[in-house]
């Protein structure tokens, strides 16, 4: 079973509530699910939708064809009718001609019969549940569960609304009825925004600073939520420049700290990024990408800031760049970003995107919390002579023992100018060279910390290469094409920088007539450029997308066919 449900309407109509209800019910019934959130940069009106995919196997990317369409307005069925198949069912407030079966449901009228058009959500959710095979009892318990905090009389009305919706579609037959056949739940739905916030607290992040910017705000929202119960302070800054510098200040004083933003805000943080680089202060920045240039498409998805993240800020200094593609990776790599940023005293950037931030994925195993978090901080006791402590002492590894200010006799002196080991400004050529080399000396060990890219069928003749959020769709496309008999595999990067060049050769098995195809969500084939620079891979083609909507396996398949690459 593998079905897609799309609930569409105007911003403010509550389609996310309906979607969440349906998705949760399916999860509870033991199915795998994922959901995509698609909305415009406005608060009311326009068109948005929530698209759920349900399957009895794990699913990591959205699908093109819609099996059940719940259209709260005309705009929705007009926009999405081309995604329907013969077997599709549409719940819409009026009839229209299409492939598939239309079931007219006067959502608003039914809601108003209960007392207010606010009940549209419940009517629609109940109808959806029924179509998916729920009986009235199940629908009622789902509704009760969801509205458990409401006053009794309001809950009653919602139950009435649910009954209306249920009855309206009682006779509709839908091919797949997952809810008729429940089994043990496989996990919980979670967004990568949530996973990153949880990864941060798991890494013992103590300070968050941010300036609101879609699609990064969700992360800071979750962190704020978590701060109510943890030793964590989240501060909204006056702008992104302040946010980034607050993070550095907090980190300098000894707290693990992070910020999250998107491209425009990241621009404003680039100077602070260099400050962290020069002062060797740990710092974690999440850049949740959206399509640009400039304001671009504020609520949509892209992978267009890769090169910018790698090269941002003047002159060369080491940094980490991660690009998780699943909640597990988002959690793990956020934790790792904090750990490595502190271990190597370099900034770490986590590149995600709107798709990852706002989509829901199935988390099968709960996140694990370490019993111990290693800090890389020294105190007077660790020093032979605290009074002569030097923050930037030369070492073989390039990492100097890091003390905190005002915690003992050791004075911590830090300058953004080129400095001597003791932290004071220098113009001396030899010290300058040595400091530059000290900072870069960390690179080999940094690369060793990184995971190799994940490979599927690394022996295959055709290798798709991707990174970050595209991994799910690429993996699925690979599988579908192999099922069709193609000799295809893929190589998926989530540890991006310092670029693990030698790992590529290790993972990929040699194949003399291999063709490589890069699949990414930008116009410039940015990741392909890095591979060209650091490996001897020659690309036969690219699958690029920059329309702001996430990849689907079908899109990749079609693009490969069109380019005669598969």
């Amino acid at each position: 079973m593998d079905i897609t449900i799309l609930i569409g309407g105007a911003a403010g109509q509550g389609i996310q509530t309906i979607g969440a209800l349906l998705a949760k019910a399916c999860c509870k019934a033991g199915y795998f699910a994922m959901a995509v959130n698609d909305f415009e940069s406005r608060v009311r009106g326009g068109h948005s939708f929530f698209q759920i995919r349900i399957s009895n196997k794990p699913v990591y990317s959205p699908q093109k064809t819609v099996d059940l369409l719940i259209a709260l307005d005309q705009n929705t069925w007009q926009t999405h009718k081309q995604s329907l198949s013969e077997k599709s069912v549409v719940l819409a407030d009026e009839d229209f001609s299409t492939t598939g079966q239309v079931v007219p449901v006067a959502f608003e009228q039914l809601a108003k019969e209960i007392g207010s058009k606010l009940f549209v959500n419940t009517v629609a959710a109940a109808a959806g549940l029924r179509i998916l095979g729920a009986d009235l009892g199940t629908v009622q318990s789902v509704i009760k569960d969801h509205f458990s905090t409401l006053k009794p009389e309001l809950l009653e009305k919602n139950l009435d609304a649910a009954q209306k919706g249920f009855e309206k579609v009682a006779d509709v037959s839908f091919e797949q009825q997952p809810l008729t056949d429940p089994s043990v739940p496989k996990g919980n739905l979670i967004s990568c925004a949530k996973a990153i916030a949880l990864g941060a607290v798991a890494a013992d992040c103590r300070v968050g600073a941010f300036y609101p910017m879609s699609p990064a705000t969700g992360i800071m929202q979750h962190l704020t939520e978590l701060s109510k119960r943890l030793d964590l302070v989240v501060e909204q800054a006056e702008d992104e420049i302040a946010a980034a510098n607050i993070v550095i200040g907090a980190s300098f004083a000894g707290a693990r700290a992070m910020t999250a933003t998107s491209g425009g805000g990241f621009c404003l943080m680039t100077e602070a990024l260099g400050l962290a680089g020069m002062t060797e202060t740990p710092m974690v920045i999440v850049n949740a990408m959206r399509p640009g240039p400039s304001t671009g498409l504020p609520t949509r998805t892209a992978q267009g800031d890769l090169r910018f993240a790698i090269h941002a800020s003047q002159d060369d200094f080491p940094r980490f760049v991660f690009a998780p593609g699943t909640p597990e990776q988002a959690f793990e790599q956020t934790r790792k970003a904090f750990h490595l940023s502190e271990k190597y005293q370099v900034p770490a950037i986590i590149l995600v995107d709107q798709y990852l931030m706002d989509a829901l994925f199935m988390l099968e195993k709960p996140f694990s919390i370490d019993t111990h978090v290693e800090r890389f901080i020294v105190a007077d006791e660790d020093m032979p002579d605290p009074k002569n402590y030097e923050r930037f002492a030369f070492t073989d590894s390039g990492v100097s023992p890091r003390a905190l200010p005002c915690r003992g006799d050791a004075l911590v002196k830090v300058s953004s100018d080129e400095h001597r080991p003791d932290g004071h400004i220098t113009e001396n050529i030899d010290i300058r060279n040595a400091m530059m080399e000290k900072r870069h000396a960390k690179l080999p060990a940094m690369i060793d910390e990184l995971d190799e890219p994940a490979a599927v069928n690394p022996e295959a003749r055709t290798i798709l290469i991707g990174w970050g959020s595209s991994a799910g769709a690429i993996k699925e496309a690979t599988k579908r094409l192999r099922d069709k008999g193609l000799d295809i595999g893929c190589l998926l990067f989530s540890h991006i920088w310092p670029f693990p060049a030698t790992a590529v050769g290790k993972v990929l098995q040699n194949n003399p007539d291999r063709q490589y195809i890069c699949v990414e969500m930008n116009a410039g084939a940015q990741f392909a450029g890095i591979l060209k620079e650091y490996t001897d891979i020659v690309f036969s083609g690219y699958v690029l997308k920059y329309d702001g909507r996430p990849f689907t396996a079908a899109f990749i398949e079609d693009a490969l066919k069109e380019k005669e690459l598969a």
């Binding site: 943890l230 004083a253 905190l404």
Partner: protein
């Protein structure tokens, strides 16, 4: 040990001989000495500029950051470790130009720290361009026809943003300045001193003599909690210019209003895997 020795930096000073910054440095040492804040217990945060080099020339912990951003760095440090004694040295360009936005919002937040603005009414380190506080009509190589914009009044700006402690000082009067710094550091909240500081190299208008002819000392024993009165003092910038505390009033401090920080410095809390695990698990389900 005298304060001078106690806070003596092994690093060689780089200011021009005769610069007003020396008076500020001396007043700082005197004030910290009198307040018994040892070098190890002092964190100076600064931006970039001649003023911002101050912590190199004094024994202390320091974070000499980037141009205009000292107050944000300081805020982060304060949130992480609220026990820090933080003093910020900034210039008129650093604080009111590049850093203008952080200044106004730092005042609004009212986190406990002291800001010393070395106000030489010029960009010193970049060799003599007009700053936000340069007098109208002042000519520089970059303003050959004279400065057009109204000079920014730092104390008035701080007041308008709700500052609880606002003072004006003069680098030429070290003892008086020291007393202001002491009061500012002791104030629980965000305290600002805009310090008149002659730049002997680039500002030929606002010289030590110019200030001496104009400034008069306010009586520090007077209560100064009238906002509109303070605004009037702040705008006395003509023939007679008051130095001293312009305004001092108790206000709710920032850190003390954050629930999580009631239990003391964030960085003192141990890592707590049990609480984390429980919170995370519940949060996944929420």
């Amino acid at each position: 040990m005298s304060d001078k020795e106690l806070y003596e930096s092994a690093y060689k000073n780089q200011w021009c001989p005769g610069c007003g910054n020396f008076g500020i440095l001396e007043a700082m040492k005197d004030a910290f000495g009198k307040l018994n804040i040892a070098p190890e217990k002092l964190l100076i945060v600064s931006g970039i500029g001649q003023a911002a080099k101050t912590p190199h020339f004094m024994k202390c912990n320091f974070l000499h950051g980037i141009h205009g951003r000292a107050l944000s760095l300081a805020l982060g440090a304060k949130i992480a470790n609220q026990d820090l004694n933080i003093v910020v040295n900034s210039g008129d360009g650093d604080c009111y130009g590049e850093g203008g936005n952080h200044f106004i919002h730092a005042v609004r937040r009212n986190a406990d720290m002291t800001l010393l603005v070395h106000d030489n009414r010029i960009y010193g380190l970049t060799k003599g361009q007009a700053s936000p506080t340069s007098a109208r009509g002042m000519t520089t190589p970059m303003q050959p026809d004279g400065v057009i914009a109204e000079p920014l009044n730092g104390p008035a700006l701080a007041l308008t943003m709700g500052a609880g402690f606002v003072a004006r000082g003069f680098s030429g009067n070290v003892q008086h300045l020291s007393s202001l710094i002491q009061a500012a550091v002791q104030y629980k909240g965000f305290s600002v001193i805009d310090i008149f500081q002659p730049c002997v190299t680039f500002n030929r208008v606002n010289t030590a003599q110019w200030y001496k002819e104009r400034i008069y000392e306010l009586d520090n024993t007077d209560s100064r909690d009238d906002f509109h009165q303070a605004m009037k003092l702040a705008f006395e910038t003509g023939d007679r210019i008051p130095v001293g505390i312009l305004y001092a009033k108790k206000k709710q401090e920032f850190i003390s209003q954050i629930k999580t920080l009631e239990k003391g410095p964030l960085i003192d809390r141990p890592y707590d895997p049990d609480r984390l695990g429980k919170t995370a698990q519940e949060y996944i389900l929420s």
